[in-house]
Structures are given as structure tokens and as C-alpha cells.
């Protein structure tokens, strides 16, 4: 079966939502554990679980526009 094509969606005032067949690696090229099919990547820099989003951008008033 063909894997789903990867897509990254920028959500207004929020994270990047990643779907499909992608692999996340850290600075040394080591794979980062991916616990779910759809992932949210931190865009505000404040997440406590980077590279994933933890919702902190809301309290911080992060704006993308």
C-alpha cells in the first residue's frame, strides 16, 4: 500500500500540523519518536515538549499574522 503523501499545514496562530509519511530526526540525524499519525510541531518556540506543540502558544499570545 502506498504511504500517504506528506503535508505540512500552517494553522493560524498555532503549530505546523504534519500528516503523512515523514521521518523526524534530531540534530545528529537520530530518529525522534513519533507517537501519532498526525503531529503538531511547535512554531512559537515555547513548547516544553519540542519539537512537538504543547499548546503553550495560546497563553503566550503567539500570533502568525
Amino acid at each position: 500500500m502506498r504511504e500517504r503523501e506528506a503535508s505540512i499545514s500552517a494553522y493560524p496562530d498555532g503549530p505546523l500540523i504534519v500528516r503523512g509519511d515523514v521521518q523526524l530526526v534530531d540534530a545528529d540525524g537520530e530518529p525522534i519518536e513519533q507517537r501519532r499519525r498526525t503531529m503538531a510541531l511547535c512554531r512559537c518556540g515555547l513548547s516544553t515538549i519540542k519539537p512537538f506543540c504543547d499548546g503553550t502558544h495560546k497563553a503566550a499570545g503567539f500570533r502568525t499574522e
Binding site: 500540523i17 503538531a40 516544553t48 504543547d54 495560546k58
Partner: protein
């Protein structure tokens, strides 16, 4: 072929009632009559109480909880035929009419945004971030005692051991983008294909890790009425097609008020010395619900509002109802704890 023992060859041991009986008692004449009905007694139901606050009525809320359990199949001791019993459906419709009327009277519809994905998502995020109610999760993070933490798990258990089920009723009632979005969220709630990652299962593991019993219904006798009211509202929204906007708004608000509070809960449970077995559920939800809230706000609620603008008011109202009614559970617990008491229902309440 696997040999399955025939039913008449199985010896039922009367010493294990927990497998066949409903594990809690009635809270008044109506729930008592319903429990009797499930056990085969055909005496007529008493009239439901005519007045009073149906949101705070233990007997009415436990009766609704049991009627919904007949649809979920969540409890032993409720014959499957009871799901479509006409008399029980009539009782449920009567109680639901009053329940909904009371909710509509008490919770105003928030100011409506334009029926677009951007505007609806943004309005829902604004509504949920303005929620200034007292925070159960902050208390848990910094101050809660071990007993209070266990009470917190017990209060959560009535919904969370069936987590995601009330909102799943909405799947066939939606179409297109909104349906795809709800399924994307629910697939993750149900473990993404891994039985051990089903959120309800991870919560059961947390309960056992904290020395509690994860059998469904085991603590219903102990939970105060706001817990039942909160779950019943979700079940009513989910099971009634006319309320599909409300269940979608409810889910959006639920997800939007979840990731940060769950981080605080995990922090508190660690502070009290619980290990990963107990904190896994809460850690999982920090990451999961930061994904879900985006999908719920924009792709689910926003798309539904664009596709069916007549549902816009109910989407916003369902979100407001989530904040108000689920918030009441936390408010109740904090009030009891601040008096040095227990958030659980005492035998004096019974």
C-alpha cells in the same frame, strides 16, 4: 477452528456478582425503578419530578446515565434489548427535553463569529482561553494531597474510562471535511490502531497504578451529581442528531482546555510520587490534545460551520456548555477540598 464452550456448559458462579450486576445503587425512586426494570421487574415507572433543578438532581441524572449506558453497553446487567425499549426511550426523551431546556436557559449562546473556518476557530480559541474558572489542574500541580489526587482520578473515571465515546456518535451524522476531521481525532483517541494506546486504556492503567479499581462503574456511587451531569450532557449531545452542532462545539472546547491542564496534572502526580504508569495518560494528552485542538477548531467545527451555517449557534453554544458544565465538576471539588472535606459523595448525601 477454535472450540468455544456452549453457554449451557458454562458454570456461572454466584460469588462473582461484579461481572453481571450493575455496581452501584439508586439515588431516588426513578433510578430505583429503572434498576428494577433492568433486573426484570415490570412495575410502572413513577412520575419524574416535575420541578427543581434537573442539572443537580441526583435521581434524574443517574437515571439518564443508566439509559445512556443501555446504548453504550458500558455496564453489566443491562440487557441489550433495553436499548430500544419504547418505554425507556420515552422516559429518556422526557428527561432530555427538560435537561436541554435547563441547559439552554442557563447557558447563553456566545457572540457568533462569521461562519468561516478561520473565524470559528479563532472564536473558539478566544472563548476557551477566556475561561477564568478556578483551576483543578493548578491545584493538583501545586497543592493537592495524595487523597485528593486519587479523588481526582475517581471523578475523572466515569467519563475517561469511556473516553471519546460520546463524541463518536457524531461521526455518521457529519459529512466531508468535518467527518474526516472527527475521525482523525477519534482514531488517535482510540490508539491509532494500537489497543494498548487507546486513551481509555491508558487511563485504566493510571487508575490501577494509583491503587484504584478500573472496572467501569465501580465508583459511580462515589461521584457527586456534577460528574454525571457532565457525562450525560455529552451523551445527549452525541446521541441526538439535532444536537450535532453542540457535540462538535463541545469537543472543540474540551480539546482546547486540555493540553496545558494535563501537563499540570502530570506535574502534580509526579510531585506526589506517582510513576510513569500513572502519569503516562496525562503526558500523552499534552502532545495529543495540542494536535486535536487545532483539528477540532478549524477542520471540524470551522468546516461544519462553513458547510452548515445553520449549526453555527449550536457549535458555539456546545463549547460554552462544555466550559460551564465540565467546569462545575472542578468547582465542586475545589470547594469541598478548601473546606477540608472530600469531593466524593458521602453516605450522608445518599
Amino acid at each position: 477452528m477454535i472450540s468455544v464452550p456452549r453457554e449451557d456448559s458454562v458454570t456461572l458462579t454466584p460469588t462473582a456478582p461484579s461481572l453481571t450486576d450493575i455496581p452501584f445503587g439508586a439515588r431516588g425512586p426513578l433510578s430505583s425503578a429503572l434498576l428494577d426494570r433492568f433486573a426484570g421487574d415490570v412495575t410502572p415507572f413513577p412520575a419524574a419530578p416535575a420541578g427543581g433543578d434537573v442539572l443537580a438532581d441526583d435521581d434524574v441524572q443517574l437515571t439518564l446515565f443508566l439509559l445512556y449506558a443501555a446504548a453504550y453497553g458500558s455496564l453489566p446487567g443491562i440487557p441489550a434489548e433495553m436499548e430500544w425499549d419504547l418505554e425507556l426511550l420515552a422516559l429518556r426523551a422526557d428527561l432530555e427535553a427538560r435537561f436541554e431546556a435547563e441547559l439552554r436557559a442557563r447557558i447563553p449562546v456566545p457572540e457568533l463569529p462569521a461562519a468561516t473556518r478561520d473565524a470559528v476557530a479563532s472564536a473558539l480559541f478566544a472563548l476557551t482561553s477566556a475561561d477564568a474558572g478556578p483551576s483543578l489542574s493548578r491545584h493538583l500541580a501545586k497543592k493537592a494531597t495524595l487523597d485528593q489526587a486519587r479523588e481526582f482520578l475517581i471523578l475523572r473515571s466515569v467519563y475517561t474510562l469511556r473516553e471519546a465515546d460520546p463524541h463518536s456518535w457524531a461521526i455518521p451524522r457529519l459529512n466531508g471535511r468535518a467527518k474526516a476531521a472527527l475521525v482523525e481525532i477519534q482514531a488517535d483517541e482510540y490508539g491509532g490502531g494500537r489497543a494498548d494506546r487507546v486513551h481509555a486504556e491508558i487511563f485504566a492503567k493510571a487508575m490501577r497504578g494509583a491503587g484504584l479499581d478500573a472496572t467501569y462503574g465501580r465508583y459511580v456511587d462515589d461521584v457527586p451529581v456534577p460528574v454525571l451531569t457532565s457525562l450525560n450532557m455529552m451523551s445527549m449531545f452525541g446521541l441526538n442528531r439535532r444536537l450535532v452542532g453542540a457535540i462538535v462545539g463541545h469537543l472543540a472546547a474540551f480539546e482546547m482546555t486540555s493540553s496545558i491542564p494535563n501537563r499540570l496534572c502530570a506535574e502534580g502526580l509526579r510531585r506526589l510520587g506517582f510513576d510513569d504508569e500513572v502519569t503516562d495518560y496525562f503526558d500523552e494528552h499534552v502532545e495529543a490534545d495540542a494536535v486535536h485542538e487545532q483539528i477540532a477548531g478549524r477542520d471540524l467545527a470551522g468546516s461544519l460551520a462553513e458547510d452548515r451555517p445553520e449549526l453555527l449557534a449550536d457549535i458555539l453554544w456546545g463549547a460554552a456548555a462544555c466550559l460551564e458544565i465540565d467546569g462545575a465538576v472542578g468547582g465542586h471539588a475545589l470547594a469541598r477540598w478548601s473546606e477540608g472535606g472530600s469531593a466524593l459523595r458521602s453516605h450522608d448525601d445518599a
